[in-house]
Subunit: 196 residues, 2 copies
Amino acid sequence: MSLVLDAAAQDLLFREARTANTFTDEPVTDEQIQAIYDLIKYGPTAFNQTPLRILLVRSPEARERLVRHMTEGNRPKTAIAPLVAILSADSEFHEELPQLLPHFPQAKDAFYAQRPVRERSALLNGALQAAYFILGVRAAGLAAGPMSGFDSVGVQKEFLDADHTPLMVVNIGRPGENAWFERSPRLDIDAVVTTV
Amino acid sequence: MSLVLDAAAQDLLFREARTANTFTDEPVTDEQIQAIYDLIKYGPTAFNQTPLRILLVRSPEARERLVRHMTEGNRPKTAIAPLVAILSADSEFHEELPQLLPHFPQAKDAFYAQRPVRERSALLNGALQAAYFILGVRAAGLAAGPMSGFDSVGVQKEFLDADHTPLMVVNIGRPGENAWFERSPRLDIDAVVTTV
């Protein structure tokens, strides 16, 4: 056994965890979100940047506006999930670098003066943080249902601004009946890992 | 306590885990990489795509070629880490979709016919998988040292091809003496999470 992580944690985060398509009506509390954030905030990023932004869609009115921008297949589950979060990447993350990297405050201007560089970095590091968030939701014993099927421009206009690019929409809650499809296959290691 | 994940696992993956800058000379084996991959391959992506590619730099000759493309501050640790991996995103991941998504093989052509769409998707989903990989390395009791400081075009030309965009270079091994800097601050939840 090459892994140190205990089997229950492996199952909770990876092996048994699944993208849920149905949910019970048990609410997801702000305390749970706080606990998830307090865990995943430690996940590494380049220069300790924090481009990820999490918008919790709690009001029925906001939920309705969001559902309209989802692709048809994603609408029913987005409408009934106990909580839905819009994850986005903030292209102006560099403004926080002097605070986040006190031993190297020059990073802000040395590396991130140009907007296209920031946009790529926000996308890449925001996605790293989105993965930490998905696993954090699972660490709280909840199922995450990350979705890319939505009108990105529409969601950005409706809920965000020009500096915040949507990464994904995530349904969060306890899995309900028939919550998942059969597990799809994965690539063999030989298709992914090579040695030089 | 809102988290279900046990405290030891929280520490191993997030709270106590750190980006290592020095390493012992204990080798990282192919068996460990296999165990890491067999865990993280279950991490969710859009349409079950698998754009992440992992190139293990094992030969001294390849290591030397890689070190030349690292920024100066990253060279010493990249030279001495027991194992170094180049993570990249494959823009032609859609070719595998019929195999990975047997219940919806049309996804390949319906969503990913255009190269710019694939490139963005490979970057975003490859970054999700890179985050799973970093946590998988930690799950094996090893320290990961992910780095963005390298000549991306140079690494791509030297080790990859036009379809594979470097995401990061990761040093892997057991932490050595004085392996880390003091932990940098994190943003308060109020700067990251908002509710609508």
